[in-house]
């Protein structure tokens, strides 16, 4: 995509709240945007380093819970006589804390991924997410368990006392998600286009060869995992302060599957893939609502995923871009799309 097309796209996205008056549609776009951010972060691991992380929702949930707890404040009874009291913090600080904590867990998983690979890595990541879910469910003193954390404050903008805008309504939240989305895209695009991203791609393509020319396997994987987890944590934070309630169900495996479907359908290892996949699977449920029950939708998703793997293994974006090239015979690109 050239600069003009990109500019046009971004302009279009910024204009949506101006003409789309139905708040419900805006809500769908906000949630889809949050999932797109999460899918983009998963794509960094799955698409660029080739590590199938199926516990990705853990980072999302950890970011969300951390952000919620920091903004609400909490106290922990450490011993009978001492209770640790953490006062409520502004939402922005909470949001950053969520990103940092999620990034830390990404670092842990990255370290592990060096030792356990392939099928083992997949199972470790699933287990990690399940352990985190069980902790969220059972550590009631901290997380309220299944009763959920309620009344989470929304984002605010401005200087306290002077002028403040609290993000109660859809429109500011839409822009917040859009800006975060663009930032995440830029971070990932710059990273994968750099020498560090080349190292990640090299690991995916041929790990022994990459190591033999001096690519540090551990460091590249850890870097990818940290950035990926931090972005997923940001998505979790956005979700929490938008929906304003979070419970352990946020860690359900089905959400990881949703992200995987988005990435695989759109095209893993492409920058646009998670966006295309995210839009499809963010909006499709609403389109199917009238005709199919949620279970039926999931059956359709499952079948769709199988069909995509069989018939469109690289996903929509590479298929469309190669069709485009053939059709219009554009000058050959330097392989940057699927680099």
């Amino acid at each position: 995509m050239n600069r003009w097309a990109t500019g046009l796209w971004v302009g279009f996205l910024f204009s949506i709240p101006l003409w789309m008056t139905d708040q419900y549609y805006l809500h769908i776009l906000i949630v889809a945007g949050i999932f797109i951010i999460a899918a983009m972060s998963l794509n960094l691991l799955l698409g660029y380093t080739g590590q199938l992380s199926l516990g990705h929702v853990a980072f999302f949930g950890i970011g969300g819970y951390t952000s919620a707890l920091v903004s609400l404040g909490f106290d922990l009874e450490l011993t009978d006589s001492y209770t640790f009291v953490f006062p409520a913090q502004p939402v922005w600080i909470a949001f950053l804390a969520g990103i940092v904590v999620a990034g830390f867990f990404g670092w842990l998983i990255g370290k592990i991924s060096f030792k356990v690979r392939g099928a083992y890595f997949v199972i470790v990541t699933i287990s990690f997410a399940e352990v985190v879910r069980l902790v969220a469910l059972n550590w009631i003193d901290l997380t309220e368990g299944p009763m959920a954390l309620n009344n989470i404050p929304p984002f605010t903008l401005g200087v306290p006392g002077l002028w403040e805008l609290t993000f109660w309504r859809k429109i500011p939240n839409y822009y917040l998600v859009l800006v975060t989305c663009i930032l995440s895209y830029v971070v990932i695009a710059r990273l994968v286009g750099s020498r560090l991203g080349r190292a990640m791609i090299a690991l995916r393509e041929n790990e022994p060869l990459a190591a033999s020319v001096g690519v540090d396997v551990t460091r590249s994987l850890v870097l990818a995992a940290v950035v990926s987890a931090a972005i997923a944590g940001a998505a979790g934070g956005l979700y929490t302060h938008y929906i304003r309630i979070i419970d352990p169900d946020v860690f359900l495996f089905i959400y990881t599957v949703t992200m995987v479907i988005m990435v695989v359908t759109g095209g893993k290892g492409t920058l646009a893939g998670p966006i295309v996949g995210g839009l499809i699977f963010g909006i499709l449920p609403e389109a199917l609502r009238e005709v199919a029950s949620p279970e039926m939708q999931w059956v359709i998703y499952g079948v769709l995923m199988i069909l995509i793997v069989y018939f469109l293994p690289d996903g929509i974006v590479p298929a469309v871009s190669s069709w485009w090239k053939e059709r219009f015979d554009a000058p050959p690109k330097t392989g940057e799309e699927r680099a």
Partner: protein
């Protein structure tokens, strides 16, 4: 070819290297040296332990102890990328390129060690990053030029014809700027004219100050380019010397004939198995 350059400095020092796989001894007390600036060849029948030695030297096989030194530094226990940082870079027996990347990008990955942009600089798109990228791209162009691959620069690595892929492998290794280059059967599968071109290429690489250790089955090539030949059989060194000496050595002849091998078939089998 010149006689063994004994006067020169030892760069790679293998001292009593022993490797076993669950009761099976792959290498037993193997000692040999590689000298600065030479082309040394490691030959031997299938299963003699040549590739095992390569894997041990380059860290793909972890060996404890202190049996492998490069320019005085111990390589035992280091990971492949750390060994590459010391200047020891290898190629693989089975064709090994980054198939989904363009030829230029293959070289750019090879240049990884020679770029220093930090994460924050990359995320902030500092001018330094762009300068470094164009510097790398220019260097990649030079390497492709030297290897005669410029015409394929924008093709995918995996889409190249076989002979070109083998050249690309060497180009990727060269991009890492080794001081010792280990080549594992680089001409297997090449036709005679490609092999001849490759031999000329080796001379140029050596002229650039790179020491070369070669594993190869093509005896004509080995005898044609090597300063020194080291013969492994069943995990032990049975002969070492200038190519002419090796060709006359009765024990070497017996080792090869004993395996009933015509060498070509052997080389094919080993290449296929890798």
């Amino acid at each position: 070819m010149s006689a063994a350059p004994r006067s020169r400095e030892v760069v790679l020092d293998i001292d009593r290297l022993t490797i076993g796989f669950g009761g099976l001894v792959a290498l037993a007390n193997v000692s040999f040296d590689v000298y600065e600036g030479e082309i040394a060849s490691l030959i031997g029948p299938n299963g003699a332990g040549k590739t095992t030695a390569f894997n041990a030297i380059t860290g793909f096989l972890s060996v404890s102890g202190d049996s492998i030194r490069y320019r005085g530094k111990r390589l035992n226990g280091l990971r492949p990328n750390q060994i590459a940082d010391l200047g020891v870079v290898r190629t693989f027996q089975k064709t090994s390129v980054f198939a989904a990347n363009t030829v230029t990008d293959n070289i750019m990955i090879g240049l990884h060690r020679h770029a220093g942009a930090r994460l924050w600089e990359i995320l902030l798109a500092r001018p330094r990053v762009r300068d470094e990228e164009s510097r790398l791209r220019a260097q990649a162009g030079e390497i492709l030029e030297m290897m005669g691959l410029s015409a394929h620069a924008e093709e995918l690595g995996g889409a190249l014809p076989y002979g070109e892929q083998r050249l690309l492998e060497v180009a990727v290794a060269l991009a890492a700027k080794p001081t010792l280059l280990l080549l594992d059967e680089p001409v297997s599968g090449m036709n005679p004219s490609e092999t001849a071109r490759f031999m000329a290429m080796l001379g140029r690489i050596r002229a650039g100050g790179i020491t070369i250790l070669l594993v190869e089955h093509d005896m004509r090539m080995v005898m044609g380019v090597s300063d020194r030949v080291i013969v492994l059989n069943q995990g032990a060194i049975i002969a070492e010397g200038a190519p002419e000496e090796i060709q006359r050595n009765p024990e070497v002849i017996r080792a090869y004939l004993g395996h009933g091998a015509d060498k070509r078939r052997a080389s094919k089998r080993e290449a296929g198995r890798a």
